[in-house]
Amino acid sequence: MSFLDISDVTIAFNGSRVPVLNGVDLKISRGEYISVIGHSGCGKSTLLNVVAGLLDATRGGVVLDGREISGPGPDRAVVFQNHSLLPWLTCYENVRLAVDQTLSKQMSRAERHEWTLANIALVRMTHAKDKRPGEISGGMKQRIGIARALSMKPKVLLLDEPFGALDALTRAHLQDQVMQIHAELGTTVMMITHDVDEAVLLSDRIVMLTNGPNARIGEILEVDLPRPRDRLALATDARFISARAAVLEFLHHRHAAPGLKAA
């Protein structure tokens, strides 16, 4: 049985007749890295919000590790697109708040302190742990966002376009870090993205959504590239190039952006 089971998830907003997402079925195994890709407005983030529990599905449901999810919880930690750090807390306090809130039963005060520091060290932010979000760069904020999510010991890590607002160099650097963390911890990851290279580089499988409304899963691509992956070596690897081509073909030929098709 799969670890995370999304079955027949359909979402319609405010009684609209045409649903945003229609009958999404997806089974994810433990430790798998899944990317969901599609054009803007196809409902990728909506799907992630349903798994996170921030949004209720109109039909269908999500089962995680044998239990149906209802409402948000720390077993499905989210890294938000715009980092969502609390600006009045330092980086340390942002992570510590999550740790205190989710692990206070399992850990003593001192252990929580150590665990907070360990997670900040994992994303290599120890040097800035006492800074406030307003004092650090976008990439650093997102690293703290990742540390906060990981610190909750989630069963699934949900990444909502985590690198979307970053410049290309910072993005590459963070992708490498996420790959490394995924290799170290074996966390199950579901990532929303619109970046084809990112999806191919990071994922075990890429889930491609058709255009919304009424979006469905159009195709699922297995990326069978050996790990650890190296972006430089892959740039000329035939398997990488063909996987990339397959996603591009799906996105820009068979399911081109709705705006472009009309024009």
């Binding site: 948000p72 989210v78 969502s84 609390l86 009045w88 040097h127 406030r132 909750m152």
Partner: protein, 290 residues
């Protein structure tokens, strides 16, 4: 990582020798210039206004005393605000202190009650629908209109004055708090939901800090209104207080005293406003744009 950022120590040694020549120490006038630039213009304006006032109030038909006369009549009030000859014959400091004490009590009460009600109507749609229309009407009632009613209810001057302050300053606090709570970004609510932060923790760790800049804007407006209200209320209530001092001076045709008192009232009002802005800045740790 830190080591690589530090510049090599040996290289700039030669440069430091020439530094004094390249960067001569600032002369005294150069160092004072920024202060002079911010102090001199208002000083010049004050001086000009005093001159105009002197000129206008010097004629034989003038109804108000010129600055020289004010200094002559009320010099003691300005130079010694601390004298106390018993009864109501006290220095301005004591009058201001009495007024400020009333404001402190009334404003503290309205801050506590106002923030609490603001949190309620910011969080609950039902409470907002029920209370908001009533507040919108009540907040337009002028402060002094409450005074007869509160005198009738409390039958004493002190609590009546405090009630007038309370009822005057509470509206901006309620409204700003409610707006602040409603404007807490969905992102922060999502974070709270994911880490299952609820109830008191949710209010104290997410809602209050996120709404703090708005709350302090409300408090700042509220403290200004309190100061406006207390002066007016004291004119009618009597006793020790800067408002009554002004009214008393009017009754004894002591115009110079009134003018001095007005300056003090203005300065204290300004300081209250600044103080509130400073507290807001410290409490919100600079996330407020106060």
């Amino acid at each position: 990582m830190n080591a690589s950022v530090q510049p090599p120590v040996a290289a700039p040694a030669a440069v430091t020798l020439q530094e004094p020549a390249a960067m001569p120490a600032l002369t005294l006038t150069e160092r004072l210039r920024p202060y002079a630039q911010s102090v001199l213009p208002p000083l010049a304006v004050v001086l000009a206004l005093l001159l105009i006032w002197q000129f206008l109030a010097s004629g034989p038909n003038a109804t108000l005393p010129p600055p020289t006369k004010v200094w002559e009549d009320a010099g003691e009030l300005i130079t010694d605000p601390f004298f106390d000859r018993g009864g109501l014959d006290k220095g301005l400091f004591w009058h201001l202190l009495a007024s400020l004490q009333r404001v402190a009590v009334g404003f503290t009460l309205s801050a506590i009650v106002g923030i609490a009600i603001g949190l309620l109507i910011g969080t609950s749609k039902l409470a907002m629908r029920g209370l908001d229309p009533i507040f919108q009407v009540l907040r337009t009632v002028p402060p002094l209109a409450w005074l007869p009613l509160s005198l009738a209810a409390f039958r004493e001057a002190q609590p009546s004055a405090i009630f007038v302050i309370f009822i005057t300053s509470i509206w901006p606090i309620i409204i700003n708090t409610a707006v602040g709570v409603r404007n807490v970004p969905q992102d922060y609510r999502n974070v709270a939901a994911v880490i299952r932060l609820r109830g008191f923790g949710y209010f104290s760790r997410i809602i209050l800090p996120a709404a703090a800049p708005y709350i302090f804007t409300g408090l700042r407006i509220g403290v200004g209104l309190s100061w406006l209200a207390i002066i007016a209320a004291e004119m009618l209530i009597g006793g020790v207080g800067i408002g009554f001092f002004i009214w008393d001076a009017w009754n004894s045709s002591n115009l110079s005293d009134i003018i001095v008192a007005l300056f003090y009232v203005g300065i204290v009002g300004f300081l209250l406003d600044r103080l509130m802005a400073l507290v807001g800045h410290l409490v919100t740790r600079g996330t407020a744009t106060a």
